[in-house]
Amino acid sequence: MSDEGASPAARCRALTKIYGEGDTRVVALDAVDIDVAPGTFTAIMGPSGSGKSTLMHCLAGLDTATSGDVYIGDVRITGLSDRALTRVRRDSVGFVFQSFNLVPTLTAMENITLPLDIAGAPVDEAWLTTVIDAVGLADRLDHRPSELSGGQQQRVACARALASKPAIVFADEPTGNLDSQSGAEVLSLLRRSVDEFDQTIVMVTHDAAAASHADQVVFLADGRVVGSLHDPTAEVILARIGGLSSPQDSH
């Protein structure tokens, strides 16, 4: 856990995202305030359509907010040009998506170093070896994604997210398409990267078991933060989801 004094790895203030106009107008995020402390594992939970993915996209600089501010580290990314945003994503953010994480024409190794190669940055071999050891894929590095199982693909994606030592890693339902065994492997990998490498991670999930790996769980409903939990267990989370109708902080 991090000390409260350090500046957040990412934060947003009054983040609002509205899709469409008139009849089709949807408020996906409604004045959301969130702080992600460095070196922590945050899970974002909520029912389908509650705005989890939208929140993550806005935090990660993949989507632009309708209003409000988003910071990655000390950089305010709202209002940045596409070019600058791209640079932020490349240098400060790592991603793990639910599926289709890897470029099919590249090998596992090439996929892992992809952000570094794109940046033309030198590869820190020692760190790379550490990451590859951590994901346990040393013998699969020359394989193409189509030759890897779903779990292996997600672990390669995690390695890619970690390889460039980003300020923060975003994962959108990284275990959503995996069987429970593979899912558990990926989750413990994420957990270890927080514990051992001091990585900051934000993970979207609707699975209480997955969320229980996090240090903090933020609950979303209808685009609003409706509560949060620290050091949760699956049982507490499940109980909390059951009681979401009466939003209240659990402290």
């Binding site: 996209h57 640079r87 599926s99 289709f100 470029v103 024409t105 952000p115």
Partner: protein, 839 residues
Amino acid sequence: MFRVAVRSLLAHRLRFTLTVLTVALGVAFIAGTNIFTGSLRGAFDALVSQPRADVTVRAGASDGGALQATFPANLVNEIAALPAAASAVGLVGADGAYVLGPDGKPVGVEGPPARGRSWVDDPAISAVTIVSGRPPAGPAEVALLQSTAETAAVNVGSRIRIDTPAAGVREFTVSGLVTRGLSGGLGGTLTVFDLATAQQVLTEPGTVTAILVTARSGVSQQELADEVAALAPEASRVETADQSRDEVVQRIQEGFAFFNTFLLAFGVIALFVSTFLIFNTFSMLVAQRSRELALLRAVGASRAQVSFAVLLEAVIVGVLAAVIGLLGGLAVSQLLRWVIAALGADLPGAPLRLEPSTIALALGASLVVTVASALLPARRASAIPPVAAMREGAAPSPRSLRRVTITGACLLIAATIPAVLALRLAESDGERAAQLTGVAAVLALVGVLALTPALARPVLGLLGSAMRGRIVGRMASANAVRNPRRTAATASALTVGLALMTAVSVLGSSARASVEDVVDTTIGADFILLGPGFRPFTTDVFQSVKDLPGASVVTYVRTIPVSIDDAQSPVTGVDPRVVTEVLDIPMATGSVQDLALGAAIVDTELARTLRVAEGDSVSGTFVNGEGSLRIIGTFEPAGPVRGFITTLPTVDAIGTLTRDTAIYIALQPGVSPATVRQDLASRLAAYPSIDIQDQADIKRDINGQFDVLFGLVYALLGLSVIVAFLGIVNTLSLSVVERTREVGLVRAVGMSRAQVRRMVTLEALLLAALGTLLGLALGIAFGMLLQRVLAPQGISVLAIPATQLAVFAALALVGGLAAALWPAWRAGRMPVLTAIAQM
């Protein structure tokens, strides 16, 4: 199903616009030539109503303008007195009346004749009619063909100088402008004088070259012709109006038939190239829509219905392309008319019209191309199982390249058989050898096209290794080999066009090198004096240069035609004592020095055709009647002089007018050619149409003609290359759409727009490079084979034009870059989130 097809077309508007356009390009060419031919038919109808004398009698054999035979003018009165004749008018016409421009040089006579003739004041029998001003009258007036006046930039009332065949340079006032019907021939210039002036400046006073006879009423053309024939000298031609009309029609039709075939060939090539594009478009759309098509199957559509839906799209594309192609065809045919008009021919009154046959042709060509190219994709579409609708991202499994590769290899091996045969037959049967070369080329081309998918990976791997180091390059080359068939089909379109251009280029540079070689080895002269378009000129020229200081030899040659068994060959008279000092005549048998009156040597090729050998006598029709030549030797037809070579007195004995064809000048050692050239120029000031050429000029002149021809071929082949580039645009933009998610992913992890654009551009470059490489290789092979096969025809030296081929390659790569612009822009603009959100 119709609705499904239309919806799909609408959903992929851009793609189908591209496809339609490429097919339409080829169709426009084919339709254009067809429409043009149709309007020519209209022109022929107009020709029938054109004024023409009932019977025309011309002096001498037609000799291509080298010499003009004449009748005594009193023959006109004798013919007019015939019982069947109502009247007879004498006409004087000859080639070699050069209108001089302000620079003193002849205008507009690169090749076609500079015709001069007398005015005939009877609109019922002459196709030459005044359009402005009035007919020429008196010794100082001339009327000009409109296009001639335009070329010379003069008008009615202007004063111009004309270099005339019989009276040298004279000044005239333009009295009027004339037009001539189709019968007047194409191209060249036309000057019209009154009869007395025409006799003075074109032939001789008291002579005519043709007589136009009108029949008494109730007498048929044939009866009149018979009477005239009985009176006319032996070496003259008597023609009825019907006969000469048929002859003109036939002559023009033959001329245009070649022209048409030429243009059609390029249309067909462009269509062939567009088949690759259509094939790709449909294959990719079927692949993209496999889930949708599977869904159709799942809800009960039969396989046939699914294929039908795809083919229906092809039919719609075909029909649209035909419509646009027809409109384009009208433009093309109008363009052709302008070209013909610019050449100086009036095509009377036939409007451009779309005949049902043209529409059928355009539709047919368009549909055959589109439907045939969509057949395979349609079959593949119908093979998609309904269950694919339920599968996530149902990508059809890649099919093995084995069969197509083996077929390609077999074709390539098979191509060597006609190639070897062609080389064997080149010497003895040039025509058969050329046909076999064509067969070999087609087999090899199809073979390489079939091999391209298998070749794509290694070749692109090699090309891509240059940029392996960088991630963008690595991804681009990986993308290029992702679907070898698609890549191959895209590159193949370029291969076809470039192979043809390269072959033409190799042939062209070989022809140039051969010309230079021939000039170097067969012309010993330092200067050659020639008339425009190689036409003979007055002997006064020789008189003014024969005692040129610094010259060791000044000698002239005279060439006249001889007709043997209806085929014309040239007979050239030379001075056997000195000719070998200015011309290297490679003798096969006999010796030039043994030439004497009535003796001749013949080139080995003509000897073979005529089946004559040393010691034989050859008889034929000369300008003034029958005669014979005794063959005393044979020579290789390598140099500028071909056919028969004999002595000057022999030629003078069988010709009428004494005119020289060329004057050869050799210099004494140590004399400065530049000084002599100046001297020559001042001595020839009175003969502005005479060209003073040294060896370099000759080479440049001949090569200049090649340049025009090859330039035209390149321009027309450029059409198919453009189609190929449209194909690259198409393939790439479809690929980019297919890879939306991938682009989104790499953008998400930090690839910039510029990098994405570069990735797509590099892929385009790789596609272009693959097509270029194969095209160049194939084209060089074709060119080498062609050169070998044509070596007996004079293309004896092989020259690979490295610079030009490098330019082709560079242009192809630039084309690849240009083709990437739009797809790269699209890929760069692709919103990151849409890609992610699809997950």
